[in-house]
């Protein structure tokens, strides 16, 4: 790019969206996905676009990329890239623009890369397509690009298949291809959501570094305000297809104009703001004591058993020992694959385990010891309510099952209604099917089901991670109220450190199947903590801390 062009683009926004609307034709008439959007991004700027799921964030990205489904209608507006209206471009012209002048980084690198092509092939094809390089040139250039995004062995990485690289490495390759042709604008669509805490921090740092170096105008889409606060200069808040508020990060955080924005900010978990009292006495008689529990995966195949061949077993949990006191909330944190859920499954009898579990003075050695009384006392809530609620049963059937199993089963109608009220759902929801409920409502039903047997311990396995921030806040509030009322202990598994620091009494940190340490929640950021715990804490952005 020559100098004169540089100054030209300096004055005008690189990307400007003017008065743009988008409708989807549906059987029930048009659905207004985007309503008269006005946005602009200058060179060297990062604009954060924040909103809940279904607010139209991703629709806007598809509009800019001109990759819309057939039922999309555009009643008006313009999308200008360096002064060219993209709405006027033919598909063929757009093909030459995509990847060269505007590119995109996607949410999940494990699905956005073709599983049957090597990473190098997928990077080199961009260079061949847009820069006219030969295969050899593109491959060489690709290696340089990979080195530039911080991959240690770029030549090797080029030859690897996607499944041979880690999530972070794959996302670096995707980022390298987005930056490959020095585009004017890049759209980042939740680029770290699918990655674990420490990796996502590294990817974020890489993004900030490359952005500063190239000065590319960036649209950073996220549902996580804390994340956007760390990266973006300006933030636009989108609600049901409408930009309700726009301003610098500082303005938005210190002086939000809209209630909606305020709600979003308040919903972001802030570890400084503890939601529970530290009044749980650590007793000699804990409710649950997990003693040297190990879980191994992989069973001997028939043939291996015959021939006596040794099979390699994968360790899910390695001699875990911890305890939960009555009425305590014990958080378990760790990145994906650290064995958090494996432990939860072992404790509910969904995984075979070695070792001992003491529950309320009883010794549990294997699945056979987990009788009805144990199952009544230990309940689990899963991450995805869509998967854990039977889609063909009405809420009434779903909730009356534990009542019949563990309760007296009398006057089900009233009991189910009471349960729904307890989780702040209308009694009439009993007649609905799960798909007629929103994600947050479904998770409330799952919570009601877990509490139906009046358990002593509820295991919450990432129960808020599929929910929006504001919904998450209300579900957490509900859980804490239920806990106050019933004195149930929670084993709260999450990867959201800020959230767990708000609500847990103690936090257990896990890493690759090992328990690193169990510490009091307010002491988790002390410098005496284990190396890994410190790295975790450092990796997590805290939104409010910067502005308060």
């Amino acid at each position: 790019m020559s100098n004169t062009e540089m100054t030209n683009t300096e004055n005008n926004p690189v990307l400007s969206i003017e008065n743009y609307s988008l409708d989807y034709e549906t059987a029930n008439g048009p659905f207004h996905a985007l309503k008269t959007i006005d946005l602009s991004i200058n060179r060297g700027e990062i604009l954060g676009l924040v909103g809940e799921s279904g607010s139209g964030k991703t629709s806007l990205a598809w509009s800019i990329m001109r990759y819309l489904p057939k039922n999309a209608r555009e009643p008006g507006g313009r999308i200008l890239l360096g002064g060219d209206n993209l709405l006027d471009k033919s598909e063929r012209q757009m093909e030459a623009i995509r990847g060269r002048r505007i590119s995109m980084v996607f949410q999940d690198p494990s699905t956005s890369l073709n599983p049957t092509l090597s990473l190098g092939t997928q990077l080199a094809e961009v260079l061949m397509r847009h820069r006219g390089l030969s295969r050899q040139q593109a491959w060489k250039e690709g290696e340089e690009r990979l080195a530039h995004v911080g991959l240690k062995t770029p030549a090797q990485m080029m030859h690897r298949m996607p499944h041979e690289a880690s999530g972070g490495e794959k996302q670096r390759v995707v980022i390298a291809s987005a930056f490959a042709c020095n585009p004017e604008c890049i759209i980042f669509d939740e680029p770290t959501t699918a990655l674990d805490v420490i990796t996502s921090r590294q990817i974020l740092d890489l993004f900030v570094e490359l952005q500063a170096e190239t000065g590319v105008a960036s649209l950073y889409i996220s549902h996580d305000l804390a994340l956007v606060a760390r990266t973006a200069g300006r933030v636009a808040v989108i609600k049901r297809g409408d930009i309700v508020e726009q301003g610098t990060v500082r303005e938005i955080f210190t002086n939000p104009q809209q209630d909606y924005t305020r709600e979003l900010i308040n919903a972001v978990p802030d570890p400084a703001h503890r939601l529970v009292k530290d009044d749980v006495a650590v007793t000699d008689k804990p409710l649950v004591k997990v003693e040297n529990v190990s879980v191994h995966f992989g069973r001997k195949s028939f043939l291996a058993a015959l021939t006596g061949k040794k099979t390699e077993r994968v360790t899910g949990n390695n001699a875990i020992s911890l305890s939960v006191n009555p009425g305590e909330i014990l958080g378990i944190v760790g990145e994906s694959g650290s064995g958090k859920s494996t432990l939860a499954k072992a404790m509910t009898g969904l995984n075979r385990f070695e070792g001992k579990i003491w529950f309320d003075g009883r010794e549990i050695r294997n699945l056979g010891d987990m009788d009805n009384a144990y199952r009544k006392d230990v309940q689990i809530i899963f991450q995805h309510p869509d998967a854990s609620l039977n889609p063909r049963q009405k809420i009434f059937e779903i909730l009356s099952r534990p009542l019949k199993l563990f309760g007296d089963g009398s006057d089900l109608e009233k009991q189910v209604g009471d349960m729904l009220e307890q989780v702040r759902l209308p009694r009439t929801h009993a007649n609905r099917y799960p798909h007629q409920l929103s994600g947050g409502e479904k998770q409330r039903v799952a919570i009601a089901r877990a509490f139906a047997s009046k358990p002593k311990l509820v295991i919450c396995d990432e129960i808020t991670s599929a929910l929006d921030v504001s919904v998450q806040a209300s579900v957490v509030e509900l859980l804490l109220d239920l806990q106050k009322a019933s004195g149930t202990a929670y084993l709260f598994i999450t990867h959201d450190l800020n959230l767990i620091r708000q609500i847990a009494h103690r936090i257990a940190v896990m890493y690759r199947g090992d328990l690193i340490e169990v510490v009091k929640a307010e002491e988790i950021d002390s410098p005496d903590r284990a190396d890994y715990t410190r790295r975790l804490i450092e990796a997590v952005p805290r939104a409010a801390a910067q502005f308060q």
């Binding site: 990329m65 990759y67 093909e95 030459a96 623009i97 995509r98 990847g99 060269r100 590119s103 995109m104 996607f106 999940d108 699905t111 956005s112 890369l113 073709n114 599983p115 049957t116 092509l117 997928q122 094809e125 961009v126 397509r129 847009h130 298949m161 499944h163 995707v174 291809s177 043939l303």
Partner: protein
């Protein structure tokens, strides 16, 4: 694994022939044989031994390549069966070849023109193909192309080594009849796989990198869409072995299907055992090859 499968198959085959209401001794000596003569024959053939002994002695011979002696002809079963298998495989190979040449392009066209006329025509033809059993299509084909048009010979088999063009002419109708159902099946499979693949994130990602539609189809979509097709084709070999029996009978081709039918009609136990075992072995081997091929093409899969 494949050895294990064949072992189980041999057990089942042997068990089935034991259940059949046929006494080998009666078959050989005829209905009017004296009980003493029958007993003597049973003794020499080892038929009075316990069943498991009979099984292992049979299995031992099979492993050594001796499939037994036909009760009907008194000749060894093995050579005749393998010769017939060769003719059937020739028929099957031509059918699969024709199917691949037609089904894959048809499936691709249907997938990328989804909902358009081309898609509907392909769908309609495939439904018709799946719905019509081969004895119907075969009869129609013979009637039209052999009887009315007189383009092709109606039945019979001529070895390619004897008369190449004559042999091909005799194969055209049976090959077409067998491939119709395969084409219908596989083209629908290719279509639905490709439609799924075209909706994946990585296809969208490739399009958003500026790759053209054609490039994305060739480089990104086809390989992923055709992988499951390998499995389907291998499974179809099972159908093919069954379909071949009917088609060989109609077109009078002395393949393994026809041999088997003759053996069943004559209650020729060793021949039935050999025929079924050979067919099962063919099926297992084809699926084994398909698994290997799949793993070779899809690097994510590894076999120990």
């Amino acid at each position: 694994m494949i050895v294990y499968t064949l072992f189980v198959v041999s057990l089942i085959v042997f068990a089935i022939t034991q259940i059949l209401p046929a006494d080998a001794a009666v078959m050989m000596l005829g209905e009017n044989a004296t009980p003493e003569a029958l007993d003597a024959l049973r003794q020499t053939m080892g038929l009075d031994a316990p069943i498991w002994q009979q099984y292992f002695s049979w299995l031992w011979h099979v492993v050594q390549g001796d499939l037994g002696t036909s009760l009907r002809t008194g000749q060894p079963v093995g050579p005749a069966m393998f010769e017939a298998l060769g003719r059937s495989l020739l028929l099957a190979l031509f059918s699969i070849g024709l199917m691949l040449v037609l089904a894959i392009p048809l499936g691709i066209i249907a997938a990328i023109r989804r909902g358009k006329i081309a898609d509907m025509v392909v769908s309609l033809v495939s439904y018709a193909g799946v719905a019509l059993p081969e004895f119907v299509t075969a009869t129609i084909a013979v009637l039209v192309f052999a009887d009315w048009m007189k383009w092709l010979p109606p039945t019979g088999y001529v070895p390619l080594t004897e008369d190449f063009f004559g042999g091909i002419a005799h194969l055209v109708l049976p090959v077409c009849v067998i491939s119709i159902i395969l084409i219908a099946h596989v083209s629908r499979m290719v279509r639905s796989e490709l439609v799924d693949v075209l909706h994946t994130d990585y296809i969208r990602a490739a399009r958003l990198k500026g790759m053209s539609r054609g490039h994305v189809l060739r480089r990104h979509a086809l390989r992923n869409a055709l992988l499951p097709t390998i499995t389907i084709v291998a499974l179809d070999v099972g159908y093919l072995l069954g379909g071949v029996i009917v088609v060989e009978e109609i077109f009078a081709i002395p393949g393994i299907g026809r041999q088997l039918i003759v053996a069943i009609q004559a209650r020729d136990l060793p021949a039935i055992q050999a025929g079924v075992l050979i067919m099962a072995a063919t099926y297992s081997i084809v699926n084994f090859i398909a698994d290997i091929l799949y793993a070779w093409l899809d690097k994510r899969i590894q076999y120990d």
